[in-house]
Amino acid sequence: MEKKGISGAEAVVLSLLAEGVECVFGYPGGAIMPVYDALYDYRDRLQHFLVRHEQGAAHAAQGYARVQRRAGVCMATSGPGATNLITGIADAMIDSTPIVCITGQVGKHLLGTDAFQETDVIGISMPITKWNYQVTRAEEIPEAIAKAFYIAQSGRPGPVLIDITKNAQTEFFDFQYRKCTKIRSYFPKRKVDLSSVERAADLINNAERPFMLIGQGVVLSGAQAEVKEMAEKAGIPVASTLLGLSAMSVHHPQYVGYLGMHGNYGPNVLTNECDVLIAVGMRFDDRVTGRLDGYAKQAKVIHIEIDPAEIDKNVKTEVAVVADAKEALQALLPLLEVKRYPEWMAKFKECDATEREKVILKDFAPTTSLPKMAEVIHMLSQLTQGKAIIATDVGQHQMMATRYYEFDEPYSNITSGGLGTMGFCLPAAIGAKVGRPDRQVVAVVGDGGFQMTLQELGVIMQYNIPVKILVLNNNFLGMVRQWQQLFFDRRYSSVDIQNPDFVKLAESYYIPARRVDNREELGEALEEMLNSQSAYFLEVMVEKEDNVFPMVPAGASVAEIRLE
């Protein structure tokens, strides 16, 4: 793409178009005004969603990126606009989500003078971006943006930030866009090393109790089919991390559940009984491993991971395959023998039965006057046949949703894993719906977290984005309350949250809304929500002092998982 004598601001817009960007989430302000002026000319080709707080722009870009499988774009002005993006950038960094953030900056001659709305955004965002760069001349814009997209989307994805001084936006130059395909110092991906794949195959073929763990890397590389094929051919049980959820259908016979602090009983305890552990695109986060010296010590670990810095970071590996998950599994598959492990699989079934009896049946039993979260999620799952995109916030409802929603379609789980950012859900759901208007998107959110970014109801209103919002209201900061109950002697310190009338609030944004506080109406209310052509807000009053189990207490090993 070429255009002579255009402003830096127009170049920003043309660069985004050259990258195939269709929408931007953002908020204007002084230092980014020239870009907003340019956006006006291109509003038929590049839709801008005006969020109500820049944190929402970053999370919306994340939600969009997760469903579209390419970088989401957000934009903000200098100073407070840019600092409001920071939480979302940190979230994208730890969850490897590709987003491109564009911030305005004061003019070059004012840099370092504590000018109005000058903040060292490059300095602040440095540890939470994969790459960042300050542009001070218009001519740098196309190359900087091209690099930004390449870096955000290649290898292990992540957030990048381009800070553009105001003078660079207003200067004129001859624009020419070339996509970036290579950077001398950047080696995002390795070829699959066949000798390590052979060693991995050898370990797997000789295993007696192999166990495969899948994470976000499987989702990012699109390796769902390969995982399924491997599980079927080699008979290996597969468990997922929080971010790996929906990569494999929960109904697949080889799928044995969800790992981690509030995951399923079987995959957690049996991690310490497998003899070969095959970790694919996951990073052994402490929420998955529990205490490291009590984690899978008996197992030989195969780690298939694109990022060399993850190898041996937390868990020592026997064989590391540093490669894209899909490519690595494609190389591995033909080397695997057809196997079945009936006794080993039976152990998972036994654990499932234990969990069912001790946890799940209780969670589903209508023993309380108000419905429990698990009941609501179970019903939602059945009504949508596991086919909806579920965005969750952080807390008990997140763990209940990810435990009980029976994901049956890939790219359906949008949640803040590594950072655990309350307030993530609503804007991320908006981004997901913008990215996949053809799919049902349900935002499952707690009454606490909803209030952290509820101003984004304004975006839903203004652009008619048919997101379904399901607030599970326990009138508590539930997850913190659970910890206070279990580990702080029931001293409920500042978890009792007084809420506004959410229904009226949603209605004030012209969003149809309803509150339910009994089981009788629940199914019908959920159906009404799901069938609504427009956005819909449903508040379900749920049991106040419900707890999420199983639970691996902080500092315990996975084998010490508690069922009650």
Binding site: I122, G123, M126, P127, K130, W131, N132, Y133, Q134, I151, T181, K182, I183, R184, S185, Y186, F187, P188, K189, R190, K191, D193, D307, P308, A309, I311, D312, K313, D324, E327
Partner: protein, 183 residues
């Protein structure tokens, strides 16, 4: 030089990077975030134009150094990073000592100290003299301690610079990286 804590070792980390603003913060953040003290840090251009070399001396546990260096290599503008123990490198530091000129008057002692330590005088002013010594930290410190009784006005020591003993060129390392990479 600070004493090593238990299970710590001293490492010299050589980092080859693009010559870009901001990389220094990115690299130091990798250490500070892990509470690793940087004993010294030197940055200079290399024989290859546009490529800088960071020489960082740190103390850390042997089972952490590899992970840390891979985190450094992960930075987009870092070409390659290596770590060495003292046996694997040839290294030097430079120290300057500012002494009052009268310390030399009427006595040969200071002059003898300078000669015995293979140091040299680089400037003589009416009021002060500047002495230079290159060597390992123990050597530059030894000279400092010997000069101290005669009045050291100012003492400064550079960070360590180091050259690795293995003969493999950076270019070869980079070619190997190219060969195992997919783009």
């Amino acid at each position: 030089m600070q004493a090593l804590e238990e299970n710590q070792q001293r490492y010299t980390v050589s980092i080859f990077t693009e010559d870009k603003v901001g990389l220094l913060s990115r690299i130091t953040a990798i250490f500070t975030r892990r509470k690793i003290n940087v004993d010294s840090l030197t940055v200079s251009e290399t024989e290859n134009k546009g490529i800088s070399r960071f020489t960082v001396v740190i103390r850390t546990a042997p089972d952490r150094i590899g992970v840390i260096v891979r985190q450094i290599e992960k930075q987009v503008e870092v070409l390659k990073a290596f770590y060495y123990n003292d046996e694997q490198i040839v290294y030097q530091e430079l120290a300057l000592y500012k002494m009052p000129t009268e310390a030399f008057a009427g006595s040969q002692v200071v002059e003898k100290i300078i000669r015995d330590n293979y140091a040299r005088v680089i400037t003589i002013e009416p009021e002060f003299i500047v002495i230079e010594k290159t060597g390992h930290e123990e050597e530059t410190m030894k000279l400092f301690n010997e000069l101290k009784p005669y009045g050291v006005l100012s003492f400064v020591r550079s960070g360590r610079i180091a050259i690795a003993k293995p003969m493999k060129l950076l270019k070869v390392h980079l070619e190997e990286l190219e060969n195992i990479s997919a783009f």
